[in-house]
């Protein structure tokens, strides 16, 4: 049937054929406006502005099991709703209909004469007079039994997904805790404190730290960051942590400890799935001659430690040239040795802090940065381990959602001898 209108108009026989066709259609449809209204495949309802039912079609009466006389003039539309639906109608449906002149696709339940409930989708429009005054409300009602069953299923699936997510978050939080020491070791003559900030409970982060005794009054400490997140990162974190502790017993020289970790990571994760981390390892020994402690730090690609001195100054302890651990078979590790005098505080951190977005709204906005952290430390010094950690926690709170990676911080402080306190 791709005739153009020109062709149609050009042939009287064809006009006749077309008229025949139309007559056939009409006979087939047996249609009148009245029948279209009464027996439409949806419910029709006209109500006055106060909701009183003025007209209702046969389809809806059949669905609900009412006689016309039972509804028209006697009941309001909201009388057909469940009580909860009536509340919804009064607080949402009716106000929106008044303000917008129409509202569509609202899911409600109608009560049939026998008490059965019929899930429906309701659309209403306000008929207005020529001068814009509202006259009456026209409503169509669609049977939504199948659709509502489907929606209920979707809703149930969503609730289940939310429950699963909460369960996963609890699991992640628990797993994270097992990767950290439950409490830091008590080192005689040192004040120590640490904090682990979880950026998101959706995935386990890869930051780690520890502080533990070695032979003859010496202590080992480390803080690192495994590349990546999730279960694989957690496995590497666990491996790194026990390797570092074992390696430190075998040979406590900090560069040797990291060299051994490098060998283990290369061995375990060779080939197509290399795993690497940045880490700083320190060996603490009491300085019996001058007081305080000596600390030798070895860094494998990790952000430098911060020294906050008793005199109120602060500096990074740079270890230039230290390479990532786990990438190359032979790795360059940089070390530095510093004396922690009474009143000094050493801070180790992971880059979750310095990489935090200052403006949490911006996706690629400005980062907090090393300079800001140095200024922060400079303002804080002289300080103690616990004060440092509490100030860092406040800072993390302030940065809020801008901190999008996990952050670990470990602070050690040599307290002033008691006799010096009054000076």
């Amino acid at each position: 049937m791709s005739r153009t209108s020109d062709e149609e108009g050009g042939s009287p026989e064809r006009d006749e054929a077309s008229a025949d066709e139309q007559a056939q259609f009409s006979a087939l449809l047996e249609d009148s406006a009245e029948d279209l209204y009464e027996r439409a495949p949806c419910g029709y309802l006209s109500t006055q502005l106060d909701g009183r039912i003025a007209k209702v079609n046969t389809t809806l009466l059949d669905w609900l099991g009412y006689e016309p006389g039972e509804l028209v003039g006697h009941k309001h539309f909201s009388d057909l709703l469940t009580v909860g639906g009536r509340l919804y109608h009064e607080t949402h449906f009716a106000p929106l209909l008044r303000m917008q002149g129409e509202i569509s696709g609202i899911a409600l339940e109608l009560k049939a004469a026998n008490g059965a409930r019929l899930p429906v989708l309701v659309t209403s429009t306000v008929k207005t007079s020529s001068d814009g005054q509202p006259l009456l409300i026209r409503t169509t009602v669609f049977d939504a039994r199948d659709r509502r069953a489907y929606e209920t299923e979707l809703l149930r699936a969503r609730q289940q997904a939310e429950e699963e997510r909460a369960r996963l978050q609890r699991l992640n939080t628990t797993l994270q805790k097992t990767l950290l020491p439950p409490a830091l070791a008590n080192v005689p003559g040192l004040d120590v404190s640490a904090h682990y900030h979880i950026a998101s409970t959706d995935e386990v982060g890869g930051d780690f730290y520890d502080l533990f005794p070695l032979a003859a009054g010496t202590w080992g400490l480390f803080l690192g960051d495994v590349c990546g997140k999730g279960a694989m990162a957690a496995a590497v974190t666990s491996l790194a942590r026990y390797t570092l502790r074992a390696a430190a017993v075998y040979d406590p020289d900090p560069a040797a400890v990291l060299d051994n970790l490098n060998t283990v990571l290369n061995h375990e994760y060779n080939g197509t799935d290399p795993r690497f981390c940045t880490v700083v390892f320190g060996l603490l020994t009491p300085d019996h001659d001058e007081g305080g402690f000596r600390v030798t730090l070895a860094s494998g690609g990790h952000p430098p430690a911060l020294l906050m001195r008793a005199d109120g100054t602060a500096d990074y302890l740079t270890t230039p040239g230290g390479q990532l651990i786990g990438v190359l078979p032979d790795v360059d590790i940089a070390t530095t040795t510093v004396r922690l005098a009474p009143g000094d505080t050493l801070l180790l951190h992971t880059d979750g802090l310095t990489e935090a977005h200052i403006n949490s709204d911006a996706e690629d906005g400005e980062r907090y940065g090393d300079d800001a952290l140095l200024d922060f430390a400079d303002a804080l010094a002289p300080t103690t381990a616990s004060d440092t950690i509490s100030a860092i926690r406040d800072l993390l709170d302030k940065l809020g959602s801008g901190v999008d990676d996990d952050t670990a911080v470990l602070a050690i402080h040599v307290p002033q001898p008691p006799s010096d306190e009054h000076q």
Partner: protein
Amino acid sequence: MDVRSRNHVTVTGRTGGPVVMLAHGFGCDQNMWRLVVPALERDFTVVLFDHVGAGHSDLSAWSPEHYSTLDRYADDVLEICRELALGPVTFVGHSVSAMMGVLAAARAPEAFAGLVLLAPSPCFIDDPESGYRGGFSAEDIDELLESLEANYLGWSGAMAPVIMGNPERPELGQELTNSFCRTDPDIARVFARVTFLSDNRADLPAVDVPTLIAQCSSDAIAPPEVGAFVHAQIQGSQLVTLNATGHCPQLAAPEETTAAITAFAGAAR
């Protein structure tokens, strides 16, 4: 936090005129008043606001812990009054907001020239022991929550930042469909519980400011006997029954509602 943006406070009308503060109920936002505001603006300074969690309020200020009682909403009303410093206001509270006005007026009567309780109900749930009929059972409220769940009315998590990031209300013609009643489903659920499960009957006698109770002649949510109860509990209160039907006379019969507010607020100043 800036109270004005937290509650999306708008002040219009006659500068220096007596102050009428309009508080919307559960469901929509300050747009509920748009048919009565033009007439009120001629005589009064009109203060409009959205409850925290509704309309264009700062959604980040909402938390289920803080906004699980009407007291917090009443505190917000008093904070807005203090912030604006316009002197005593005639507070018009629709539906659940009527009880916020009752609580606020009991706490700081000096902030109020009068209260208009529009279609109020101090307790929606029946209490057979005392013979009080609020009209609903606790199960009915669960049904309402189901209706809320089934109808997010165009709200989606993806839309929330757009709404929050655009505090200047666009022209009404550009409003998205259903935006007056768009609410975060989590917030709507908590507010529905606060609205329909609170019992403030014992707070009514503490009201000591001129009070007008305006109820509708046929209201499925706040039936006439509830209005009569409120009237009996607040000493010296006036009760009027509007011809308007339904629960929202400010939409169904704006002229009649405006006249009732104007007559009362004009006399209360």
